[in-house]
């Protein structure tokens, strides 16, 4: 079978030594097993993230994505741009759409791109890694490489905001998307009922408004406990980082005893596909996912 090829946009937090470095590790192994080839966009830049708006305004933010898209067109023509990071995906896809809607904005973007020696035709699709899995591989396809079904493990599928809204994955409902639960089931584990599935973790405001955001995070973790989950699983870097990192803070301030691992879907898949704890980036957890590590080492 020939490999499916995509232009890969890792994004800042997925670089080596950055906060989601372990996510990238697991994506690598997962894609190998699924015959997906990710070709990194050469010299890609930051997408501006959601928080870039305040200083960046509109056009400077759009051209950040425009440069990545132009580099993909030039070097990896015809391949969809794929990112594992919801913020990167959202910024890129919003730019594609905004520049399609307005010829004058596209002209302005190209005027700025000229300074970096690039032109954008705007012919590329921007997609999230999860879309590739759900739409191009399919749930049946995701089951095929499974060699270690995750049997007894119970996951709270925490979808969060930005893979879900405003674009959504494969046309699913915004209030109750099921793709993540179906992925959990595809690797033989149980997706528990989870009422905080699409709650916002506070996003970038976890830094600037810690107390307000930690209330969100507390609800997200508490509900996972209430529904008997062993771990939370998520498709989003910021969700992962916020929900994992701040549990100790919340414990300190509010006397809770949270110790709930928060992993990526790609880590589940990697382990189920026979990868080691290291292949799955499980050495990168602040709260170790012991039960998943045990399966990986079997």
């Amino acid at each position: 079978m020939s490999k499916k090829q995509y232009a890969f946009y890792p994004g800042c937090s997925s670089q080596k030594g950055a906060s989601a470095a372990n996510y990238t590790t697991s994506i690598g192994m997962m894609c190998d097993k699924l015959d997906i080839q990710l070709n990194e966009i050469p010299d890609w830049n930051c997408c501006g993230a959601s928080i870039g708006y305040a200083e960046g305004g509109e056009l400077p933010r759009l051209v950040l994505s425009a440069r990545n898209l132009a580099l993909a067109e030039q070097n990896l023509g015809g391949q969809d741009v794929v990112s594992g990071c919801p913020a990167c995906w959202l910024a890129t896809r919003e730019s594609v759409e905004r520049l399609h809607e307005s010829q004058s904005l596209l002209a302005e973007a190209n005027e700025a791109l000229k300074e970096a020696g690039l032109v954008l035709k705007n012919e590329t699709k921007a997609r999230h890694m999860v879309e590739v899995l759900v739409e191009d591989i399919g749930f049946e396809g995701l089951k095929k490489p499974v060699v270690k079904p995750l049997g007894d493990l119970k996951f709270a599928g925490y979808v969060g905001c930005q893979t879900n809204r405003p674009f959504g994955i494969a046309g699913e409902s915004f209030e109750n998307p099921v793709y993540l639960d179906k992925m959990v089931e595809a690797v033989g584990a149980e997706a528990v009922k989870y009422d905080q599935k699409v709650t916002c973790c506070g996003g970038a405001l976890a830094f600037s408004e810690p107390d307000k955001s930690q209330k969100q995070i507390r609800d997200i973790v508490e509900s996972a406990y209430d529904h008997g989950a062993d771990m939370i699983v998520t498709p989003c870097q910021l969700c992962q980082a916020n929900v994992e990192i701040y549990q100790s803070e919340i414990n300190k301030k509010q006397g809770t005893k949270f110790n709930m691992p928060v992993v990526y879907y790609s880590q589940l898949l990697t382990v189920a596909y026979g990868g080691s704890a290291k292949d799955a980036g499980l050495d990168g957890q602040l709260i170790r996912a012991d039960k998943l590590e045990q399966i990986a080492s079997k």
Binding site: S13, Q15, K16, G17, A18, S19, A21, N22, D43, W44, N45, C46, G48, A49, S50, I51, G52, Y53, A54, E55, G56, G57, E58, L59, P60, L62, V63, L64, R67, A109, E111, A112, K114, E115, A116, G117, C161, Q162, N164, R165, P166, T199, C200, G202, G203, A204, L205, F207, S208, E209, K212, S213, Q216, I245, S248, E249, D283, G284, Q285, L286
Partner: protein, 206 residues
């Protein structure tokens, strides 16, 4: 009052809606709001919004320029996109909130010391330097934004987490000496500067 602000006041006189339509990202949508109130219940940090998005749209039409642009409310937006998918009129509310925050920030009317405003600026400055965000320098800048003493306190409070991330290979202490950069850093910088110049000209912010 900043120069750009004085000019905007003179140019749009009492027509704040027109000013928003011309100068705020996706501002031309504001007049489409039918005041149904659905968005007002959608924000995760809702209790901390002095004025909900619905109310902000009403205030724009009522010409309440100072109250809107000086408000802390837009800065409470977590970019959760709840509002966008729920609005029956399909207003891109998230982007309008971001656009209003950006406009008030650039005019110098946004609340001083507003924490999200501060970190958003740090974030952007960090990314413009190399084309990619350096998480260590960004965190340090964040901790020290209120001066050295407070910075040490903030950094100490988060020390355990920082060490944990380092051990887990998710925060690289060597980034202080450079870290990830775009090869064509200068091209990226020139491109951003050009984009800003074009936008500022269009919105009379220059």
């Amino acid at each position: 009052m900043s120069n750009a602000n004085q000019q905007a006041v003179a140019k749009y006189k009492n027509n704040f809606l027109k000013e928003v339509e011309a100068n705020v990202e996706e501002g031309h949508w504001v007049k489409m709001c039918m005041q149904c109130g659905v968005c007002a219940g959608s924000c995760p940090l809702g209790p901390h919004w002095e004025h909900s998005p619905q109310k902000i749209f009403m205030m724009i039409r009522a010409g309440k320029r100072e109250e809107v642009l000086g408000s802390d409310s837009m800065w409470m937006c977590t970019s959760c996109y709840n509002c966008i998918v729920r609005c029956p009129r399909k207003l891109p509310i998230t982007h309008i909130m971001h656009g209003l925050a950006n406009y008030s920030h650039r005019l110098g009317l946004a609340p001083k010391g507003q924490p999200t405003r501060e970190i958003a600026k740090l974030f952007w400055d960090n990314l413009v330097k190399t084309g990619r965000v350096n998480e260590l320098k960004f965190s340090l800048a964040m901790y020290f934004k209120d001066g050295f003493g407070q910075g040490v306190k903030n950094a100490m409070a988060m020390q355990g987490i920082g060490l944990g991330l380092m051990k887990a290979g998710r925060l690289n202490p060597m980034e202080i000496f450079g870290g990830h950069v775009c090869k064509d850093k200068s091209g990226v910088q020139k491109m951003i500067a050009k984009a800003r110049e074009i936008e500022d000209r269009r919105k009379s912010l220059a």
